[in-house]
């Protein structure tokens, strides 16, 4: 197993940070309760009837935008709750504490649409210092951020001279920039990876670029990329650069009272347009419209509409019979697109026990049962604390807690009194979480078809945008599709 976990750096989800007290991001107005703006519904020039499949962030956002544009929209959700992989849970936790079982954070810059909704709905964003002062366990030993800038430590790992120089001046998670930055300026349009001069690199692994440009063996191990299309990887980093977002932004935010506040705000405004426990069982489509079959109270029913917007992740959507079926090039995407999934652990402790050891609780543990931990829900008025963690599906909360206790580097006995979890791999309808990087050669097959409509069927949701960052992609694609259908 590699010493450094590449997956921790590829995703927007798995890093940690600590400690400072939570502040409203606009602290001058911290005491003023933000006000929601009234929802304005326009009169559409040509009102359309639209069925949205899936009440996750993408489906809710797209339906809300369509409703505001004056269209008749119905959201069909298979599971008994809305919000999808944005899921805040209070059950079993004391003193009003809560844990986010799904979506973790947003960034700024980035997440423009999301920030727009925070303002529109009068929600409160909070600083989330989970990526500050991260303790990283490498080769069985914990390192502070300062230690990971120390040239002696870096040389000891086996990094070469230019890597040591880069890492002693830049954060640990940013090593990839040393190798990708020289290639990024050629990308001008974040939705267009082709025609900038690297088209052939879709057939080459990213690791070949690192090797060609003189990466050390240690850096190769850390950066990985042996199974990722080089063109995909460079395009992905170019998107971030065009948006002004670092590879793993240290400044992240979350919503006060839990990230579920946003999907709940959408759902509240959509009202009775959101139907829960209503799985879609088939879709007939022509160039004139769609007929969606669904199940409600164990009865088969049908609904016709002008358009269907699919916000169900493709690995689940591919199991819904379509008539006519998907053409082979679409079927290829549905069968080959890769997603990750995980267990989220929520530990409730009766004190900040790590402070006695002068440690940060933002830890990258690199244990097979528990990848990382960080603190959350700091604003709740109690002496108790919430520690969140992520590990693979199939790991029980007690096993994850045992991993934490095995590795915790302090002398103080922890005060964790409860461990619960959400294992997303066990979900009946949508066990997948975030879309993974495209495999070698797949970008040419996936893009731009992935976001193009198929007749009257449109695609939105976390998997249907250029960048895979969950709620960013869901809100962007939701708006894109609402706009496209409004103008169609």
């Amino acid at each position: 197993m590699s010493r450094f976990k590449r997956r921790d750096f590829l995703k927007n989800t798995v890093m940690a940070g600590v400690g400072a007290s939570m502040l409203d991001i606009d602290s001058a107005k911290a005491n003023a309760q933000p006000k929601a703006q009234p929802t304005e519904i326009k009169l559409a020039a040509s009102p359309k009837k639209i069925i949205v499949g899936g009440a996750g962030m993408g489906g809710l956002c797209c339906a809300y935008e369509l409703m505001k544009k004056g269209h008749d929209v119905t959201v069909l959700e298979a599971s008994p709750r809305h919000g999808g992989h944005v899921f805040t849970v209070h059950d079993g936790l004391s003193d009003g504490l809560y844990g986010d079982f799904g979506q973790e954070h947003i960034t700024k810059p980035g997440y423009d649409k999301y920030w727009g909704y925070i303002k529109e709905f009068g929600l409160t964003a909070m600083q989330y210092p989970r990526r500050k002062n991260v303790l990283r366990r490498i080769n069985g030993k914990f390192y502070t951020e300062a230690e990971l800038k120390d040239p002696t430590v870096l040389k000891g790992f086996g990094f070469n001279e230019k890597e040591v120089k880069y890492l002693s001046a830049n954060p640990w998670w940013d090593l990839e920039s040393l190798y990708v930055n020289p290639y990024l300026d050629k990308f001008k349009d974040e939705y267009q990876p082709f025609g900038v001069g690297y088209d052939d690199w879709d057939k080459m692994p990213m690791a070949d670029i690192y090797k060609k440009d003189g990466a050390s063996k240690t850096a190769m191990e850390y950066l990985g990329g042996t199974k990722v299309s080089a063109l995909f990887n460079l395009w992905n980093r170019a998107i971030l650069k065009l948006r002004g977002v670092p590879i793993a932004p240290p400044e992240v935010f979350r919503l006060k009272d839990g990230n579920q506040m946003l999907p709940s705000a959408f759902a509240k405004r959509l009202g009775a347009r959101v139907w829960l426990s209503t799985p879609i069982t088939g879709i007939k489509h022509t160039d004139k419209g769609v007929t969606v079959s669904y199940k409600q109270h164990d009865e088969q029913k049908e609904m016709t509409a002008d358009y269907y917007v699919n916000c169900i992740p493709l690995p689940a959507f591919k199991n819904i019979p379509l008539d006519p079926p998907m053409p082979p090039e679409r079927k290829f995407i549905a069968e080959n697109i890769a997603y990750d999934s995980y267990s989220r652990f929520v530990f409730q402790a009766s004190s900040k026990f790590w402070e006695k050891d002068n440690l940060s609780i933002n830890m990258d543990l690199n244990h097979p049962d528990l990848g990382d931990v960080w603190q959350s829900a700091e604003e709740v008025d109690t002496h108790r604390v919430i520690i969140l963690g992520t590990g693979p599906g199939g790991v029980s909360p007690q096993r994850a807690l045992a991993a934490f206790r095995e590795l915790y580097p302090g002398k103080t006995k922890d005060t964790i009194e409860l461990a619960i979890s959400r294992d997303w791999t066990k979900e009946t309808f949508a066990p997948t979480c975030e879309r993974l990087p495209f495999a070698i050669g797949d970008l040419h097959k996936f893009w731009p078809l992935l976001i193009k409509p198929m007749g009257r069927i449109y695609f939105a949701g976390a998997g249907s945008d250029n960048l895979n960052w969950g709620t960013e992609a869901a809100t962007r694609s939701g708006n894109r599709v609402a706009e496209e259908i409004d103008k169609a």
Binding site: K5, K227, P325, S341, G393
Partner: protein, 241 residues
């Protein structure tokens, strides 16, 4: 909680049974027999015809006196399997089919008791690679069986991607090897597919050379209850063309 809620009733029933069992064991020395589960494929119905490459919705109903009823979510969905076999010409229906089915059922039940089917499917990628892709990558020999069963028990990452496969310390070496052997032997077989879950859809494979107008698709639902008793139901679907 209402006294009449299914869980309460289930629990009451179980307590009563243990009590009865104790009495029987103490005074008569006999054991109360566990009832085998009743499994039924409620869709597709008998006589349904299929088209090559089409999606077929299915639903399985499981009733077990001890474990509960699938209609009330009392049966763990990933412990219920739908096995699909294709026979290109039913006039020469293979005799070995039922023996082969029995061999698979034990392994599937063992796999359903752990977490395999949360992340893997037989023919398509889910969170982990498909069993078909695994069978295509590794030759079916002792070396692969040993190496892969070790990965199953201790967990792995990096062979197929960056998603961590969890460790399965609860499995015996022998049990893990049996699963791996089954995957390597059957994963690549185009004439069989196995799905976990009580409800869903399966895609009929594409038409191949040797598929006649008399081709059949034999679907079998299997559930092994907590006492090791097995219930099964088979429906034969005929080809439309």
């Amino acid at each position: 909680m209402s006294f009449f809620s299914p869980q309460r009733r289930k629990g009451t029933q179980r307590t009563a049974k243990v009590f009865v069992a104790l009495i029987v064991v103490s005074f008569i020395g006999a054991r109360v027999e566990n009832s085998p589960p009743v499994v039924k494929i409620s869709a597709p119905a008998r006589g349904t015809q299929f088209s090559w490459g089409a999606m077929v919705p299915y639903k399985i109903v499981v009733e077990d006196k001890e474990d509960g009823n699938s209609a009330y979510d009392e049966i763990v969905a990933n412990k219920v399997f739908l096995s699909i076999r294709y026979v290109g010409d039913s006039t020469v229906l293979k005799k070995g089919l039922s023996t082969e089915l029995r061999a698979s059922q034990d392994v599937l039940i063992a796999m359903g008791s752990t977490t395999c089917f949360n992340c893997h499917q037989m023919k398509t990628k889910l969170i982990g690679p498909s069993f078909e892709a695994i069978a295509q990558k590794y030759p079916n020999n002792d070396g692969s069986v040993q190496a892969l069963s070790k990965k199953v028990i201790s967990g792995t990452v990096g062979t197929w991607g960056e998603v961590q496969m969890p460790a399965h310390p609860e499995l015996s070496v022998e049990g893990a090897q049996q699963m791996v052997r089954w995957i390597l032997k059957n994963g690549g077989d185009v004439n069989q597919d196995h799905l976990a879950g009580i409800e869903g859809t399966f895609r009929v494979r594409e038409k191949r050379a040797g598929d006649t107008g008399k081709a059949v698709c034999v679907i079998t639902a299997t559930y092994g209850d907590s006492e090791g008793k097995i219930g099964q139901h088979t429906v034969v679907l005929r080809s439309k063309d």
